[in-house]
Subunit: 360 residues, 2 copies
């Protein structure tokens, strides 16, 4: 095989057709070494600011590297160091505003620390989640940040990561298994605040649109709902709980069922904004006045919650901050030798934003 290097060594690039000269214009440390009459190991150490190279030499190397347009080949570096400076991110879907905010936070922190980010969507499918894990393994990521899909009920597919020493930090949708780090908001408290808010507005029969109970976040929001009821001496009624995947369509269907109840509902706490919006559309279309007849509180503060009329009261989740915190924690895990850093759970602040949908 005739390689560019061989060609270079044969008689200088001057004799090459221009196209070839341009195509493989990747400068290597060997090119710099040759140009400066140094060894490539010295060039490498100079570029990495090693104490084993004198400052004067470093200056010369750096200058030459800049002059020649050198750019480190991460592939070679990663292969040698068996560290890719890459982290994988798995989210249910990037189109959800909350997740895209988290990703922005992740990217910012990661890039600053010299890491590249690979973003993947599970689209709420367990099978895709499994495939993605394999892809990320193949990419030899140093760590993974993830929010599990709604379909995920067992966590065997995550064991490969641990076995291969790949750090894993959950954000938002975490698992209840020990020894994993998490960055969360206090979903129990969020659910509690949302429900108590409705109670303080005078609601007596509050329905709850709950999410898949295999996910801790939805379990906890549900618990918060129950706690608020009991604190204010309201009875908990199983019939007022509507479990679903919290899509817009679910919000609609739930509302239909809800209107058929014998005892009229006067408040809804939905575990996310999307289902709340679905409910608002259905209810409004069917002559129910919001918030007069039924007050509604959502969860996540998606941008649509300010577009719908009346604007939706919701629990704000600081996506960017969650992303930043999760990334910092992951990088700490990665850079701590032997995975010796103990798992920890960081709780971020969330807060209720009151809008028209709950103003009585």
């Amino acid at each position: 095989m005739i390689t560019a290097k061989k060609l270079r060594n044969l008689g200088g690039a001057n004799y090459l057709p221009k196209r070839i000269q341009m195509q493989n214009n990747k400068v290597t440390i060997h090119d710099i070494a040759k140009a400066l009459n140094l060894d490539s190991s010295t060039v490498s150490r100079a570029l990495n600011d090693s104490p084993r190279v004198i400052q004067k030499t470093k200056d010369i190397v750096l200058a030459k590297a800049a002059e020649m347009g050198y750019q480190r080949n991460h592939l070679a570096s990663s292969l040698r160091k068996s560290k890719t400076n890459t982290i994988g991110v798995i989210v249910p879907r990037i189109s959800r505003h909350f997740f895209s905010s988290v990703i922005s936070g992740i990217e910012e922190t990661a890039y600053e620390a010299g890491y590249t980010v690979i973003i993947c969507q599970s689209l709420e499918q367990f099978n895709r989640e499994k495939k993605i894990i394999n892809t990320l393994l193949g990419q030899r990521v140093d760590g993974v940040l993830m929010s599990i899909s709604m379909e995920t009920k067992d966590y065997k597919h995550l064991e490969v990561l641990k076995k291969q020493g790949i750090q894993l930090v959950f954000f938002d949708r975490h698992c209840d298994i020990p020894n994993y780090s998490n960055v969360l908001i206090d979903d129990f408290n969020g659910g509690f605040e949302a429900t108590e808010h409705l109670i303080l507005k005078g609601c007596k029969h509050i329905a709850h649109f709950s999410g898949p109970q295999n996910l801790e976040i939805y379990k906890n929001r549900f618990k918060g709902y129950k706690h608020a009821l009991s604190k204010h001496n309201l009875p908990f009624e199983e019939a007022l709980v509507f479990p679903s995947k919290l899509m817009e369509e679910d919000g609609r269907k739930n509302s239909e069922k809800l209107l058929a109840l014998p005892n009229p509902v006067d408040g809804i706490f939905s575990a996310n904004d999307v289902a709340a919006i679905g409910a608002m559309k259905y209810l409004t279309d069917n002559g129910v006045k919001i918030p007069e007849d039924i007050a509604i509180v959502g969860f996540s503060n998606e941008p649509i919650s300010t577009v719908i009329n009346p604007a939706l009261t919701t629990i704000n989740q600081p996506g960017i901050e969650i992303g930043k915190a999760a990334t910092e924690l992951l990088l700490k895990h990665i850079t701590t030798k032997n995975g010796a850093l103990d798992a920890q759970t960081i709780i971020m602040d969330s807060n209720l934003i009151e809008r028209q949908s709950s103003k009585k």
Copy 2:
């Protein structure tokens, strides 16, 4: 340095502490070769289904690889082949529904073809766009799909890609420079349809919220607007054109100016949905009835356009299909030797979706 391999060669993994044994359990082709008493080159060829290896051997190798849990090291492979099977994607922001749809289409097509995708956000900033290009170069991507930022006015930063033989395909927000492939919708026609729709609804004084005119898409939507006016013998008035970056706030401010005009406006064609929504909010708050007083048409069919009341008439852009087509085109460029494939522009279908905001 004591490597896992050395340790393995010394006396077998049995003598190693369990932790170390587990950490570097990456199986290589050499491990498979040793286990089968073959050469690593034969194993490599077997795994790559080369005709130089007999089927029986392939079967044996494949079986052993599966048994040992082998996973190809892409770093090594990419380094040797100087091809990473990775493509970079640059979008203004992933939180825009249109772009996240495009990304879904890109990922689907790319993963099927064995490519990994690195997603980056310019956040509409030229400087970030430049940085991202460098990051992607460092990652040695095989190709780039991009939609330029609103701030991008010169394209020198893209020349590095061409110089290094990295294929580049634009989608949606393209450049007017030749020799680049594009996947677009017909923005001129979209602008025309949107405006003509308003005219057919009886509007006589139609304002246009235009985007940055350095971007072809906004230039063309603007041209379409003008063309519809002239076709229907309506005068074009410079005063009815409101240029901005099309954020929600811009929609609000434009509406304020628009209401102050001597000659009342009875229709608005906004070059995107977000600014249209901003306008709708402001106008509704100020007693203007939509669509009775002012009819509105947006562009892109963001999900919010169905949430706002009245629902927003808009031009639908098939994001997923655009993503798929752009990826297919890019992969064709990548796999065609010497970049010999001529640049081409693919126009995808778009269509107007009529909703309440323009029903007169």
